[in-house]
């Protein structure tokens, strides 16, 4: 062992200090020769003759030096260093080509690494919770009504938590907001509400202070405690201050800070502050609002838990059927809930796409090296004739391509870093965990393996080509005339075909995404987005808990805003248009029953003021809307959307008919009006059935205001603030935006994805065209004399152009056909990403083919024109 270490230390020293080692070896041998010669002289031999004899006795000095080096076990390292030096020299001799190759590789490796870093974070990296695979999101389920993933009502949650045996613990979370009035201006905070058990179950520990105590989550306990998020802490306090025990006024009530949360994702980023959620058995079992999390016991499988929870839910339902909608449960892994079901799919598609880009870059590099290798086959043949080993030559060429790949790979990692930053700045919040994405050890390892692989693969083809070439043939072959052999040009041609095929596949992907995007923009929203200002106002429960107070707030505010000069109309609604909130309820027409096994129609519900319809640009088709927010008008009935009216009473007038809201006989209402349809949950979800209920109901629900103005919507904001201050100076206006921004924002995710696809396709296309250009230019340069002879014999320049373009386009078209055939299958994978476009959309496919053929044509024409302008005399003289 020690011996072994000493040996390697010696080798290492010899390697690092090669000069000294060599000098010592020289000196040692010289000493030997001197001694031998001196001895011969002493025996009476003439000095010159003595020296000669000594050399003869010694044998070939260089040979023994080489052998001595090998005896040291340094041969592989020696060879590698030599290969590297030689390779670097060769590459430096053609800086342009080498830089181009490095640039291509950096692009390919960089893009692939960037996408991998995303995929790694989103698909592989565990969630920031210990044993995250034991965490489950628990939903309510109602098979009969087709609701598979419902939130859970508080009484149902309490029962599930206390009766189950599968889970170690369960916690619940729900959204909320609060107004902070300790500052100069009132500030609206997002205030999540959690049961005290939730954070301990997730392993979230406050940086300062403590989590909520069990007592703080029960009725009658000390509930006025608050956990503040790290961002809230840094915004409102000096770093380092202890804030536990500090008092905060939320919604007019005093709260005590008990802890500061660490920075992080999900819960830690979702809300400004957290307050305890008091889960009580009282209250409606139909008020499904809790996001329930459970941690499975170690010895319980998901299947077992599912069976138990389903039985439990059914038992609870049978015991408390009133208003209860939960007849079963759905258990979902925490990862799939937090990351989303679509995301891994999108990432795999992107990985595939970027892999294609890399393959094109790889093929291009192989092609370039092959062209160089052609010029080198004579050199290689000479070396081989002189006894150089095939393996050594092969290794030399692969060393060269790997050298290129390594430089490209290093640049690629930097490019990946930049891409990730770019993505972070472009992403509208559609990519989960993006903030946590970085180029970490795994990503670097990936980039390294990728780089070596690329270098090997790209170098292998030309290397085999050169080392296989028959020596005698190559030496006899007149290098310039024969374009480096027939087989070689066949390989280069097939590489170009492959590049073209890969690019058209990517182009088709991009084409389909673009078509989807165009389709999306054609979607009829049903409302008018231009000139609409949107903002939220948080109404604290303490001041606006009563119906009268609510009306006393809405009436004067709406009136004041309406009187502002540029305002055409104003209204309030419980959820802004396109808000992705799920507020659906089953609805049945009175007198109609839902047949066994059939589902009741589903409709979204919205609270609205009478002015809302006009403000968003809906048309009143039949009947009327409420006159005001009074209780009598609320009692008059509801306004429904056109599609719902048609669904409930086909061919009949809906006005005057009665419906059962939430399919409940206790909540009947008369339809007083029918308005045109509008999109409610994003452009891709289609028009929804909507039931509008008057805000006069008295339900305190944070209103969103929509103001229709002439001119720039944002310009009216100050006057609205002033109007609000006159009514209640403690109310903040938050989330000021325009309806246009909401619509544009809802497309942001798709826009980003489309953009990425276009970039990938464009890069692949440019690389492929560079490839076809390279092959054509090379072929033209090799066929100069042939062209010259043709021209001399009377061919027109146009004939020459046609000849070359034909040759190039044959490759491009062959590639296109192969790519199109391959895409027939591959495009099916994109189905989930497309909107109102089939994977075989003829327009996209046709346009893409035109683009590819056009650019390929361009890449062939340039070298062809150059060939046609050849002076035959000069060209022939070169021979």
């Amino acid at each position: 062992m020690v011996n072994w270490m000493r040996r390697w230390r010696r080798r290492l020293r010899a390697l690092i200090d090669r000069q000294t080692w060599r000098r010592e070896m020289d000196e040692e041998m010289r000493f030997h020769l001197d001694m031998e010669a001196e001895e011969l002289e002493r025996q009476g031999v003439d000095p010159r003759e003595a020296r000669r004899e000594a050399r003869i006795r010694f044998g070939g000095v260089e040979r023994f030096k080489q052998e001595a080096r090998e005896a040291r076990g340094m041969r592989p390292i020696d060879d590698l260093l030599q290969d590297l030096r030689y390779g670097a020299r060769r590459l430096a001799r053609r800086p342009g080509l080498s830089l181009l190759a490095i640039f291509m590789l950096a692009l390919g490796i960089g893009a692939t690494t960037a996408i991998f870093s995303l995929a790694h974070q989103i698909i592989i990296e565990p969630l920031p919770y210990p044993d995250d695979d034991r965490l489950l999101r628990i939903y309510g389920r109602n098979e009969e009504r087709g609701w598979l993933q419902m939130s859970v009502s508080a009484p149902n949650f309490v029962d599930l938590r206390s009766l189950n045996r599968s889970f170690e613990s369960m916690g619940a979370y729900t959204f909320g907001s609060a107004v902070l009035t300790d500052l100069e201006e009132p500030e609206r905070l997002s205030a999540g509400r959690i049961t005290p058990g939730l954070f301990p179950l997730l392993g979230i520990e406050p940086l300062q202070g403590r989590n909520f105590l069990p007592d703080e989550g029960i009725e009658g306990g000390e509930n006025r405690v608050v956990l503040v998020s790290h961002s809230f802490y840094t915004q409102h306090f000096e770093p380092g201050t202890r804030v536990t025990g500090t008092a905060l006024t939320l919604n007019g009530e005093p709260f005590t800070v008990v802890g500061v949360l660490p920075p992080g994702e999900y819960y830690l980023a979702w809300n400004d502050v957290y307050v305890p959620y008091v889960a009580a058995l009282t209250g409606s079992r139909g008020n499904n609002s809790l996001v329930v999390t459970g941690r499975l016991k170690d010895d319980v499988s998901v299947e077992l838990a599912r069976a138990e929870m389903n039985a439990l839910a059914l038992r609870i339902f049978e015991q408390y059927p009133e208003n209860n909608l939960m007849t079963g449960t759905t258990l979902r892994s925490y990862r799939s809930w937090l990351v989303g079901q679509q995301m891994p799919n999108i990432l795999l598609i992107l990985m595939g796409a970027v892999g294609f880009v890399l393959l094109v870059a790889c093929a291009n590099l192989a092609n370039m090296l092959l062209a160089q290798a052609a010029g080198r086959s004579r050199e290689a043949a000479i070396s081989a004739a002189l006894g150089a080993g095939r393996g050594r030559m092969l290794r030399q060429m692969i060393t060269e391509s790997t050298l290129l790949a390594v430089v490209g790979g290093i640049l690629g990692v930097f490019l990946a870093l930049w891409c990730v930053d770019l993505l972070k700045s472009l992403d509208p919040g559609t990519i989960p965990r993006l903030a946590q994405v970085d180029v970490n050890g795994w990503v670097l390892l990936f980039a390294f393996v990728l780089t070596v692989l690329v270098g090997m693969v790209a170098g292998m083809l030309p290397a085999l080509q050169v080392s296989r070439a028959p020596i005698a043939e190559t030496l006899k072959e007149r290098g310039s005339a024969q374009a480096g052999g027939r087989e070689q040009s066949r390989i280069r041609d097939s590489l170009v075909v492959v590049e073209m095929a890969l690019s058209i596949t990517l182009l088709i992907g991009a084409g389909l995404m673009i078509r989807s995007f165009v389709q999306l923009q054609k979607v009829e929203t049903g409302f008018v987005a231009e000139g609409r200002l949107v903002f939220d106002i948080e109404l604290p429960r303490s001041a606006y808990g009563q119906r009268d107070a609510l009306q006393g707030f809405f009436d004067p505010l709406l009136k004041r805003i309406e009187m502002l000069p540029p305002v055409e109309a104003v209204g309030a609604v419980s959820f802004a248009p396109m808000d992705p909130w799920n507020t659906n309820m089953p609805i049945v027409a009175e007198g109609q029953s839902v047949e066994e096994g059939q589902r009741a129609p589903i409709a979204e519900w919205r609270l609205a003021t009478p002015g809302y319809f006009h403000a968003v640009g809906l048309t009143l088709l039949r009947g009327r809307v409420w006159r005001d927010l009074s209780a009598e008008e609320y009692g008059a009935g509801v306004v429904i959307s056109e599609s719902l009216a048609r669904q409930l009473w086909p061919d009949q007038d809906a006005v005057g008919r009665r419906v059962l809201l939430w399919a409940s006989p206790d909540r009947t209402a008369t339809v007083i009006g029918v308005v045109s349809d509008m999109l409610e949950r994003g452009l891709e979800s289609g028009a929804m059935n909507i039931v509008f209920i008057s805000y006069g109901w008295g339900l305190r629900h944070q209103p969103t205001f929509v103001v229709h103005t002439r001119g720039e919507p944002a310009a009216v904001t100050p006057s609205i603030r002033a109007a609000l201050a006159e009514i209640d100076p403690y109310l903040p206006i938050s989330n000021v935006r325009t309806l246009d921004e909401i619509v544009t924002g809802s497309m942001a995710g798709r826009r980003l994805l489309t953009f990425i696809f276009i970039v990938f396709a464009a890069v692949a296309l440019v690389l492929a065209c560079a490839g076809i250009y390279g092959v054509m230019a090379y072929s033209v340069s090799r066929r100069r004399s042939e062209m010259a002879v043709r021209v001399t014999l009377g061919a027109f320049p146009s004939d020459v152009v046609r000849l070359i373009v034909k040759q190039g386009m044959r490759l491009a078209l062959l590639g296109a056909v192969i790519g199109i055939l391959g895409s027939l299958g591959l495009s099916q994978f994109m189905r989930t990403l497309l909107f109102e476009v089939t994977p075989l959309d003829p327009l996209a496919w046709f346009a893409v083919t035109i683009v590819l053929v056009g650019t390929a044509l361009l890449s062939c024409v340039v070298p062809a024109l150059r060939a046609s302008r050849l002076d035959p005399v000069i060209a022939l003289r070169e021979e």
Binding site: N3, R6, R7, R10, R11, E24, M25, E27, E28, M29, F31, H32, D34, M35, E36, R57, F58, G59, G60, V61, R63, F64, K65, E67, A68, R69, E70, A71, R72, G73
Partner: protein, 110 residues
């Protein structure tokens, strides 16, 4: 002289070097001379081939080389047998004896 030159069997050179150094440290030329003397000039090796062998033995850790000054007052690299080398010598000597006896037996039988 040329007639007495005998190519050393592969591996035999290692044994001879180790044996030579067992008597005391020597430089490369000294080893060559000593082998020549001890073998009564029969083994007149291709002297240079000594050096790859020396480096190999050094790499294995059987001998160790160190620069010193020769009796003639010149800088020279002296080789010493290490403990591992001593053990190796004993082993190779035994192997060689076995081999030589076997060859001898075959020749006698003829």
């Amino acid at each position: 002289m040329a007639t007495t030159r005998t190519d050393l069997l592969q591996g035999t050179l290692d044994l001879l070097i180790l044996k030579t150094l067992a008597l005391g440290p020597l430089h490369g030329w000294g080893i060559a001379k000593r082998i020549q003397q001890l073998s009564n000039d029969v083994l007149h090796a291709n002297q240079g081939s000594l050096y790859p062998a020396l480096y190999r033995l050094e790499d294995r850790g059987w001998i160790s080389g160190e620069w010193g000054v020769s009796p003639e007052g010149r800088r020279a690299k002296f080789y010493t047998l290490t403990q591992a080398g001593r053990e190796q010598l004993a082993e190779e000597r035994a192997t060689w004896r076995l081999f030589a006896r076997a060859v001898e037996a075959i020749l006698e039988a003829g």
